[in-house]
Amino acid sequence: MKPVIEVENLVKKFGNFVANDSLTFSVFPGEIFGFLGANGAGKTTTIKILCGLSSPTSGKVSVAGFDVYRQSEQIKRNIGYMSQKFSLYEDLSINENFQFYGGIYGLSRKEIRERTKTLLSRLDFLKAQNEVLRNIPQGWKQKLAFSVAVMHQPKVVFLDEPTGGVDPITRRQFWELIYEQAHNGTTIFVTTHYMDEAEYCGRVSIMVDGRIEALDSPKVLKNQFAVNSMNEVFVKLARATK
């Protein structure tokens, strides 16, 4: 299978500071890829590069078959993005938010209408579609933001700490959504500080000080470090460098 994200010797420097030190990894279609690391390890830098928002200092990077140096516009059209910080417009209704984002990606009005309906009925939100976002509980908003991010049927979705501050039940419902989306062939690239969520990923990379120190399925990693949980794997790796 041809990878959706291909990264080879990616280096990103800010002055003398090396934020990404020779990263190499591939992510395959329909995979849920956990991108873990401590605060300041360089995750955000990598995500920005993969989304076409920033150029690498050196190395080969392609996303959805497009080169990040030359084809960042095509990349942006083929990816979705959602983070805890970026969410929907609080003063617009659910419907208006969908219309707006659908419009950004050039969907026709018919497409917007149909997809909004499908996505909302999947969340069981059809009744609330004219509700203004401000009046909606936080957990719902997160799910809506995810639906908006996949509305234009991107090949890859980047989720940057999508579940921060969300209650444990909504968190699990959110992951159900992720599974379903991945099952339909969308590649999921996700960061999280919840280590139990790391277990839900197909493969996980752990970044420490700009380098990827481990990359494999949670099961293999736990065996490799002889521990019972991803939390312990993470702490072992991150502490080792301090």
């Binding site: 690391g37 957990g139 921060g164 444990p168 039940i169 500080h193 280590m195």
Partner: protein, 307 residues
Amino acid sequence: MNTEMAISATAISKFYQDKKALDNLSFEIMKGSLFGFIGPDGAGKTSLFRILNSLLIPDEGKANILGFDTVKDYRQIRRIIGYMPGKFSLYQDLTVEENLKFFAGIFNSTISKNYHLIEDIYNHIEPFKNRKAGQLSGGMKQKLALSCALIHKPEVLILDEPTTGVDAVSRGEFWEMLQKLKSQNITILVSTPYMDEASLCDEVALMQEGKIMQRATPEKIIEAFEQTLWSVQSDNMFKLLSHLNDLPEIKLAYRSGDHICFIPEMLTFEEKKLLDHLEKIGHQSLHIRQIEPTIEDSFIFHMQSQN
């Protein structure tokens, strides 16, 4: 541990327009304890903390800290508490040291006066003391913010979600610091959306929609979980969950790390029967065992049974 009360609240309610943020809360917190308010965003933790630190006036009920009323005696209260707001981000354009100096100054203190209190924490960030606060990583910022909240030697420390968005290692370090502070007889109130942090508190209150669902020591909360909790794994976890949810003898099933947790109907559940059924519909490498519940399991069960 002494038995004096540091904080007591009676029938506190708070409304924002027609929305009820806090619903008739009453509780007492002992001096010198590390007390956790656990709950998701929007549960009312921030509103509660702002009432306790005198920044908000409750619509109903009253609260006092060390005998001072949070409305009437707000001046005294502000002298004895340290507070770290949720979105507190310090002055991004000032350096680490300038931030600390400033906060010491406004509380009529100096860095050297209470250095012993913050020494352990400040050690971690001192090498970067000439760096601007905006350039620190999330974990470091939290440590600096904690130092700033501690610099005037408060008797009660109120920390609103100090570990949100902070990585697992820094979170661990942060909690170690809190344990040390507790040993200096500082009462600490902390809120968090991370359930795993609950077990590090002396006592916790599980909050949801402005109410306290349960309040006890972490051990007691787990004891009070009068359900048997099982864990199961198979080669297809995604399908396994939906299969379990279809079964009438399963009350509740959800993912938890690398396995699926479920709570069976005690009367009709048989382990063997379930395994046979799952094997029949195509699951392989099945593992099933009874496990000890955690605070998170308890929280999920409470939330689910309320809906």
